[in-house]
């Protein structure tokens, strides 16, 4: 009885501190004295794993949705700038289609036609998790991509994913 109590107290202590209980030498000794404790631990671990699994699945879906939305917006922006570029050429513009700001684009588009179009695109993706809050901003018009201060490690997947998406957006040259 006491052995089991000691065992679970130490397991709880290790889990509370986010340590692997199996690396605890005292727990290893208790398991060797009563190998059945390992099965009990396994049962609880399996339950906890199942708690984590839906979170991971949701996280995977969230990443997919972010990627899909970002890709869709990027395509819309490409389509818009190309159409706008064609319009500029039709109007006899000889200036290169680079470094155009939103105001200039708005003014020019107003002269060309009244069809609604995307003049500027700005995606701000804010991700919050246990590691902190990461904000990624993808801005068109000035065609810049920048990372806002992040408390998450640089290896966080989502910013990289968005950065990769941003980097394939053509400059329109």
């Amino acid at each position: 009885m006491n052995r089991r109590k000691d065992f679970w107290e130490r397991v709880d202590e290790a889990w509370d501190a986010r340590r692997d209980p199996l690396e605890d030498a005292a727990l290893q000794r208790l398991i060797s004295e009563d190998p059945g404790l390992l099965d009990e631990l396994r049962r609880v671990e399996r339950g906890l794993r199942e708690l984590r699994a839906p979170q991971a699945r949701r996280s995977g879906w969230a990443r997919l949705m972010i990627a899909a939305v970002a890709a869709g917006l990027a395509l819309a922006w490409i389509w818009s700038t190309r159409r706008d570029g064609d319009g500029s050429r039709d109007a006899g513009s000889t200036s290169p289609h680079t470094q155009r700001d939103a105001a200039a684009l708005a003014s020019e588009s107003h002269e060309l036609d009244a069809t609604p179009r995307i003049l500027a695109l700005r995606i701000v993706n804010t991700l919050a998790d246990a590691r902190g809050v990461t904000e990624v901003e993808l801005a068109s018009g000035v065609r810049s991509t920048r990372f806002v201060a992040s408390t998450a490690p640089a290896s966080t997947l989502e910013p990289r994913l968005l950065y990769a998406l941003a980097s394939v957006v053509p400059t329109g040259n």
Partner: protein
């Protein structure tokens, strides 16, 4: 002048620890757990993941933790093993117990109180700290831990001592 001795390499240290790991595996896994095979795997993994070992820690517990993980993996495989493996009386007994546990898991989760479930999901599912949970739920950290410990116990159907 004292003779300078070279520090034993990681491989040498692992080799030195293996007999005690073998004895440990025999006790925990039993003869049906194929402790010799598991020992080989421990040695292989130890060398493969040597860079993950913190030299400030003791090698023995690190190797034994690896051995215990392998025992757990082996039992999980047996649980899922199809065909003839399930026909041995021991495997059937164990398999039945585990299947029953799995089917029962959702019920056990449902049996937790709302706060126990919330604390458990926040800590293990979302990775929130005890402190963060305490702030979010407006309760002392000790109370959060009490809920957490009770919830784990119920989740694993561990009998109260």
């Amino acid at each position: 002048m004292p003779e300078e001795r070279d520090e034993p390499s990681f491989e040498q240290r692992v080799l030195r620890e293996l007999p005690s790991v073998r004895a440990y595996l025999r006790r925990v896994a039993g003869p049906e757990g194929e402790p010799e095979d598991l020992l080989q795997e421990v040695a292989a993994r130890a060398l493969k993941y040597s860079s993950a070992f913190d030299p400030a820690r003791e090698l023995g517990p690190w190797l034994r933790a690896m051995a215990l993980r392998l025992v757990i993996d082996q039992r999980e495989r047996t649980r899922r093993a199809p065909g003839e493996l399930r026909h041995t009386p021991e495997a059937q007994e164990r398999g039945l117990e585990l299947v029953e546990h799995r089917e029962d898991l959702q019920q056990r989760l449902a049996r937790l109180t709302a706060v126990e479930r919330d604390v458990l999901v926040r800590f293990h599912g979302r990775g929130e700290s005890v402190r963060a949970i305490a702030i979010a739920l407006a309760m002392p950290e000790g109370t959060v831990k009490s809920h957490l410990h009770r919830a784990r116990k119920r989740l694993g159907a561990v009998e109260a001592p």
